[in-house]
Amino acid sequence: MKEVEEKEEASVYQRVVLKNASPYHYLKVRLVLEDDSTRLSAVELKYFIITGLKSLYGEVGAALNFDVLKYDEDTLTAFLRVYSSLVKLWSSLTLLGSYQNQACAFRVLQVSRLNPLPKNM
């Protein structure tokens, strides 16, 4: 991620370019369940993702720090933030196949290196 900062005072300005400097990744995901009337609370969702990390990456993987920034219980859509290990989180989401004995899938709707996540038109 390149970022440029220019600050102008009279005719003096400073330009800083930061490449790949943002430590966080942001994901917008939606959980799709076989029975689409099932609901999870934010805490249940986070715990479910942690079980996915644990089954793929073990105890150390389950300790991966990620935040649920925003969660909509009606659509089961969440904004997640993860510190540097995007691949671990994304792969765990991909391979999470069942929730309480029903088939499920995580759809990754958007990924961004810098919040704001752009709005899809």
Binding site: K7, V43, N65, V68, K70, N120, M121
Partner: protein, 329 residues
């Protein structure tokens, strides 16, 4: 200068403004926000129509139109962009490019072998004037070789079109299935908002906080909370109100420029808060980034800039693009 950026070629999908210590927009600002030009969505536009002589002469040559293919993914589908400066860009997959048979370059965003190609023509150049050889070749290619058709978003500058109003594009529209849309304006008053001091925290944290405000993400977590450890950067001050406005749609650079001027006027007056911010986001799938170079989606397709304007006439500009996009000078 900020004017240079906002008059550039980014096809904008959303402008968000944050006004701290404000609970309602003053009338001038409100008027600008609610009067963004409307735009058109054309279903299945045959791309050769963009080369129509009348359309070129009354609209394109005057820098009055710009448009983008709608819902085409830059890394998978064929994408088309027409910029106000008259540049037509086609981002094509290998097969389409070979069928088209017109000059182009391999995309800068490629794997080991080139799988995407970019055809870029300046329609205002004399070699692309109707009747000239290059023009006829591209027209024939688009009409009979690769009959490229796409849903297309089109916007036109109300004054620059030579025939005034929409008359220049009416003939084009009349041949197509089109609908007109107004940009959507969303206004929220936020109360008791902790705001970081923009110059005292690092730019990433500040931009992250700004994005969170825009997306309605709460910063009220304690660092030991199970769900989220996201907090407002320190140092911060509590603002009683803040106004968050966003305008979404295909937005004209001209309208953004007007908004910018109005925000400058707003922040230069003595106020409780010493700054305002404006974030302009481009389409993630646009073939052209705001620096007028090729844009690739990679993982996230970021394509936006945030302008912070301060009371003392200084400003900060943060530009975010994909890791392989080219920064403007």
């Amino acid at each position: 200068s900020p004017a240079h950026i906002s008059n550039g070629s980014v096809s904008t999908v959303q402008v968000s403004v944050l006004l701290p210590e404000c609970s309602s927009a003053p009338s001038h600002l409100d008027s600008v926000l609610n009067n963004f030009s409307s735009f058109y969505l054309i279903k299945k536009l045959p791309v050769y129509e963009l080369l129509d002589r009348h359309f070129l002469e009354t609209a394109v040559y005057h820098g009055a139109v710009f448009g983008l293919s709608y819902r085409t993914r830059i890394d998978e589908d064929n994408c088309v962009a027409l910029m106000p400066n008259g540049h037509l860009t086609l981002s094509l997959d290998k097969d389409s490019f070979e069928i088209l048979g017109f000059e182009g370059k391999p995309s800068r965003f490629k794997h080991r072998t080139a799988t995407r190609f970019v055809v870029s023509v300046d329609l205002t150049d004399s070699s692309m004037a109707p009747g000239r050889r290059s023009y006829l070749r591209l027209l024939t290619s688009l009409k009979s070789r690769l009959q490229l058709q796409t849903d297309f978003l089109l916007s036109h500058h109300p004054v620059l079109c030579s025939l005034g109003g929409g008359a220049s594009i009416q003939p084009l529209l009349s041949r197509c299935d089109w609908s007109q849309h107004r940009p959507e304006v969303n206004c929220r008053v936020l109360t008791n908002l902790p705001c970081p001091a923009p110059l005292s925290c690092d730019p990433h944290s500040f931009l992250e906080w700004l994005g969170a405000v825009d997306a309605g993400i709460s910063c009220e977590n304690s660092s030991s909370s199970f769900l989220s450890s996201f907090v407002c950067p320190e140092p911060n001050t509590m603002h009683r109100h803040a106004l968050s406005v966003s305008v979404s749609g295909l937005l004209l650079p001209h309208d953004i420029h007007r908004l910018l001027q109005e925000l400058r006027r707003y922040v230069e007056q003595p106020r409780l808060a010493s700054w305002v911010s404006m974030t302009v986001r481009g389409f993630a799938d646009s073939p052209v980034s705001c620096s007028n170079h090729e844009h690739g989606f990679l993982r996230g397709g970021e394509n936006f800039y945030t302008l912070m304007m301060f009371h003392d006439h200084t400003y900060q500009l943060h530009l975010a693009m994909g890791a392989h996009d080219v920064c403007p000078p």
